[in-house]
């Protein structure tokens, strides 16, 4: 069977034009997708059944047993951490939040090690953005800052920016100027009209300098800023001011290098400054397929996009204090539930190591590094492959992930609902 317009759940682009051929419970061909999409659909090996770690190694257990034991672990905990949520759909995320409020847990999603700093910046200065179609149809200047879409979002340029045919930019490649800012040469910088190579940790200074130049204070700026010649900065400021529609996309190069959210804030304030001259927008390149959805769901339910602490019954938020890495690093939590993510691989060692010291339960379709640190791993469906549900694209557009095959696994939402019921029973989430 061939299914059209399938949504790829891998990255924040959520490309929805894939064509997938299935043969029973097997996917045999993926068309239109990038190589990340192909791997997502084609090389989907799962843990066959729930497993539990014992003195002697690992043993298979039933779903019922795994679920009751998980509920027990969570019930006993004085400071449980519920982490992950970005590679699954909205319904699962929402039950996760209900569990957190029920048991007084800290709930955090993967933006904490991705675009959490962008959220902090947005909370300081806001976010002048737009949907990706606005960029596709209008933008004549595109800036990629501290990101490498060729590797991380392979179809971003062909679907939404550099190579995409837009209504007002019919000859995209000719009509769009592409500026790439990075500390190193990559395949993305290789297609730039203007490559700005900056020294490590120099983003903030360069952004400040650009803001000052746009404000007419070029005379203050020294001849070189973080390895970038003033002439180039002045030239870029001019390109931006003369754009009809400029769009900045930024990545982990801003959020993960020193200064963190202050870098992003500075980029947003540059966009704000440029908006006084022409149309300018800025957007983070979100990583996981539904990480933005986890922010959305958390926000309408708790008021905060990530790092929510329910220890006191009310929702409290303070990244740096209530974020997963910090909670683990300080050894605060005494139980962890990891859903649809792999902190064992993605967190610094000292944080990951704490997971092995406490009862940790993983709910994830795949065996991953965290499995090794856990006490129980419960396999489930993968959203967008054998489970349908809502995901939010990096620009906030909600898209329904499809179920293309049935592999007989329970949906993670169903597993969590059962855990919730064992913990409470009273109010269905």
């Amino acid at each position: 069977m061939i299914e059209q317009d399938v949504v790829c759940p891998f990255c924040g682009c959520l490309c929805d034009d894939l064509e997938i051929e299935t043969d029973g419970a097997r996917i045999v061909r993926v068309k239109n997708g990038c190589s990340l999409a192909e791997a997502t659909f084609m090389n989907d090996t799962r843990l066959p059944a729930p497993i539990r770690r014992t003195e002697a190694g690992w043993e298979e257990i039933s779903y019922d047993e795994a679920i009751s034991e998980t509920a027990e672990i969570l019930r006993e905990a004085d400071r449980p951490l519920l982490y992950g949520w970005s590679s699954t759909h909205g319904e699962t995320q929402s039950i996760g939040v209900h569990i957190a409020e029920l048991i007084g847990a800290v709930i955090d999603n993967t933006s904490t090690v991705c675009h959490g700093p962008s959220i902090l910046a947005i909370q300081e200065v806001g976010h002048p953005g737009c949907t990706l179609g606005q960029v596709k149809n209008r933008a004549d200047v595109i800036i990629y800052w501290g990101c490498n879409p060729v590797e991380a979002h392979p179809r971003h340029m062909s679907r939404y920016t550099t190579f995409a045919t837009g209504f007002f930019v019919p000859e995209a490649q000719r009509e769009r100027t592409v500026i790439v800012v990075d500390t190193r040469r990559t395949d993305t910088t290789n297609i730039a009209d203007e490559f700005v190579q900056i020294e490590h940790g120099g983003d903030y200074a360069v952004l400040s300098a650009l803001r000052a130049i746009v404000r007419g204070k070029a005379h203050v700026i020294p001849a070189s800023v973080a390895g970038v010649a003033k002439e180039q900065l002045v030239r870029i400021a001019e390109i931006c001011k003369n754009a009809k529609f400029g769009a900045i996309f930024f990545g982990l190069g801003l959020t993960m290098s020193r200064g963190k959210y202050k870098n992003v804030r500075n980029a947003i304030e540059l966009t704000d400054e440029l908006s006084r001259h022409t149309k300018f927008v800025i957007s983070p390149l979100r990583g996981h397929g539904n990480v933005y959805g986890s922010n959305e769901v958390f926000t309408w339910m708790t008021g905060y996009p990530f790092a929510v602490d329910f220890a006191r019954g009310i929702a409290f938020y303070n990244p740096g204090e209530t974020t997963a890495v910090d909670i683990l690093r300080r050894g605060e939590c005494d139980a962890a539930l990891i859903v649809a993510s792999d902190p064992g691989a993605n967190f610094p060692r000292a944080a990951a190591a704490h997971l092995a010291k406490i009862p940790t339960v993983v709910i994830d379709p795949h065996v991953n590094a965290t499995t090794a640190l856990s006490r129980i791993h419960i396999p489930c469906t993968a959203a967008g492959i054998d489970a349908a549900g809502t995901a939010y694209r990096m620009d906030g557009i909600p898209i329904r992930l499809k179920k293309v095959i049935d592999r007989g696994y329970p949906d993670d939402a169903e597993i969590l609902r059962k855990i919730y019921d064992r913990l409470d029973g009273g109010m269905g989430p």
Binding site: D5, V7, D16, D17, G90, H98, E101, L102, I119, I122, Q123, E124, V125, G126, H127, P128, G129, C130, T131, L132, G133, Q134, K136, N137, R138, Y160, G166, F167, F168, F245, D272, S275, R276, K279, F280, V281, N295, E296, T299, W300, M301, T302, G303, Y304, P305, F310, R312, G313, I314, A315, Y317, T390, Y392, G396, I397, P398, I399, R400, M427, G428
Partner: protein
């Protein structure tokens, strides 16, 4: 079968012409009936004020923009935090509360139906997800068409039928309720960082004017026989001197529907400014209401502001940017491809600001100068003018000249000179308040026939019982009792179930979402229009097949079907 009998209720039900009668109300399975058996649960209202459930015909509580307001405001989330308690989930936030916060607080105030003021069709799924998490109110979604490319193409081609067909297809896809125009044409211009300054200025690249968009969609709306009229946020919002644009717009409106208005003009306070700069801004409420009083085809709502810190959020992107340039606080903007825009900034309305004081006075003037309460409905464009929890204070102000005088005495000295509020003696009565907070909304939205906004036999049993004895309270003097009384119902009954008692939510919600399916003839359906499909697939960034909202997003969807006259 569940039965409920409310006895000794002092009922004001304007749609049925009931004004303060002591009566009993019988309810069976969520609807009002003639009588119930003696096994029915009984509520004794003790002659307290009993009204149909409150209806907010323009509020921002769900969807992309609202949630972004929350997302960017951790400082607001610290206000109004409550723990999980009984049937109540955790809530956070004061001016941009979480969905549960919105739902519980509206319910405590006796509100049972809400119209979300602005939903971009492309992001409709999000709005519906939040509707599900706002469980105690029936929800309806205004659907944005102000910068819709296909609509503007049809307008340019003077093809009303085509415009109607685009609206019908989009409402169906978005599971929307009504046509919303926010700064028509201006949001498309904002795609280039521009705005339109008059209703006769052309939208860049589209060769249509706001006036043409408005008039075409008013006609299309009636051709589709939509229950609500076109719902318009006029051009030039918030600019000194904009009243002329508003009056010009009102002049465009024909009287096409005997059952209701042909245009719903929202938050008119923001559109009733004289002067030319922020220094000489003044009230033009008299001019606006003179126009309204002679035009039964127009209904407006107040857009009252109250003095507090709050968040402005609207599809009107350029307006928000202008406001941002004045306030220098945080600013978010979110343009939606081929459809509309949006912007968000926090503001503080202060009595120290002459402009804010004049705005406050204008909203009240509008309500007091409009002769028929059916034509000026009470709201704050929540949370733009103030969070909805301020409604009881507005009721108090409208019912008491003394309260107004006391407030006026604390305002910026310029206010008296530039508004006429000081001279207005009118004090609204209970019946007029009932019209302005539910009956008028039900009629304007076209949901009275769905059993909303009245307590007639067969109506949905959405009822608010306030701890107010109208025979014992003199609102002109005891306005504080009025304000307090409207803050917390004794009982809020939603579809026959008591959902809130003395401000405490006691059951899980089970709201419905109303949407409209306007059936158009096969030959002009957009899903058969090759050019429409081609442009969709080429210029949107989602596939047309992934665009429509699936039914499962409306677990209790209530479809209103209409047969278009095309």
């Amino acid at each position: 079968m569940t039965e409920l009998w409310v006895k000794n209720a002092c009922v004001i039900d304007p749609i049925r012409g009931i004004n303060g009668e002591i009566m009993d109300i019988a309810i069976r399975d969520g609807r009002i009936v003639e009588s119930v058996s003696d096994r029915a649960d009984v509520i004794d209202a003790h002659r307290c004020l009993t009204l149909p459930g409150g209806i907010d015909s323009h509020t921002h509580v769900s969807g992309t923009k609202v949630n972004f307001g929350r997302y960017m405001s951790p400082e607001d989330m610290r206000a109004g935090r409550t723990k999980r308690r009984g049937k109540m989930h955790v809530t956070s936030g004061y001016y941009v509360p979480t969905t549960f916060g919105n739902s519980y607080r509206y319910s405590a105030m006796g509100y049972t139906t809400l119209l979300e003021g602005a939903m971009a069709p492309l992001e409709a799924r999000h709005t519906h997800e939040e509707f599900t998490a706002t469980p105690h109110q029936d929800m309806l979604a205004n659907t944005l068409f102000d910068g819709n490319w296909a609509v503007m193409d049809a307008v340019r081609e003077h093809d009303v039928r085509k415009a109607a067909a685009v609206v019908a297809w989009t409402l169906n896809a978005a599971r929307g309720y009504a046509i919303k125009l926010t700064n028509p044409g201006g949001t498309e211009a904002w795609g280039w960082g521009d705005d339109l300054t008059s209703i006769h200025e052309q939208v860049p690249h589209f060769a249509v004017t706001p006036a043409e968009i408005i008039t075409t969609l008013i006609q299309a709306n009636e051709l589709l026989r939509l229950p609500h009229s076109v719902h318009l946020h006029c051009n030039n919002l918030g600019k000194p001197g904009n009243y002329q644009t508003t009056l010009d717009t009102f002049e465009l409106v024909p009287d096409l529907n005997p059952a209701r208005q042909s245009l719903y003009a929202t938050h008119v306070q923001f559109h009733a400014y004289g002067g030319g700069t922020w220094r000489n801004i003044c009230s033009k409420a008299e001019e606006i209401t003179r126009s309204i009083n002679s035009k039964p085809q127009i209904v407006m709502d107040m857009g009252q502001i109250m003095f507090c810190r709050t968040m402005t959020m609207t599809a009107d992107g350029p307006m928000e940017f202008n406001l941002h340039c004045l306030h220098h606080n945080k600013w978010s903007n979110h343009d939606v491809e081929l459809e509309t825009g949006s912007g968000i900034i926090p503001v503080t309305y202060s009595k120290k600001s002459a402009v804010n004081c004049i705005m406050w006075a204008i909203g009240l003037e509008l309500a007091l100068l409009t002769k028929s309460p059916w034509q000026c409905l009470l709201e704050t464009d929540n949370p733009n003018g103030a969070p909805f929890v301020k409604y009881p204070e507005i009721i108090g102000l409208l019912m008491s000249k003394r309260y107004r005088d006391e407030e006026c005495a604390t305002l910026h000295a310029e206010t008296e000179k530039r508004t006429s509020l000081w001279a207005l003696e009118r004090e609204l009565d209970w019946h007029e308040i009932a019209v302005m907070t539910r009956a008028g909304q039900a009629k304007a939205l076209g949901i009275a026939s769905q059993g909303k906004g009245h307590l007639g036999i067969g109506a949905e049993a959405d009822i608010a019982i306030y701890p107010i004895r109208t025979d014992m309270v003199d609102p002109a003097r005891e306005y504080r009792k009025v304000v307090e009384g409207f803050q917390k119902t004794r009982y809020t009954i939603k579809r026959g179930r008591v959902v809130s008692r003395d401000g405490e939510i006691i059951v899980d919600g089970a709201n419905a979402t109303f949407w409209v399916n306007a059936k158009v003839p096969e030959d002009i359906r957009m899903e058969n229009d090759k050019e429409f499909i081609r442009r969709f697939e080429q210029f949107y960034t989602v596939r047309m097949s992934n665009y429509p909202v699936q039914d499962l997003y409306l677990p209790r969807g209530r479809c209103i079907e209409t047969e278009a006259m095309l």
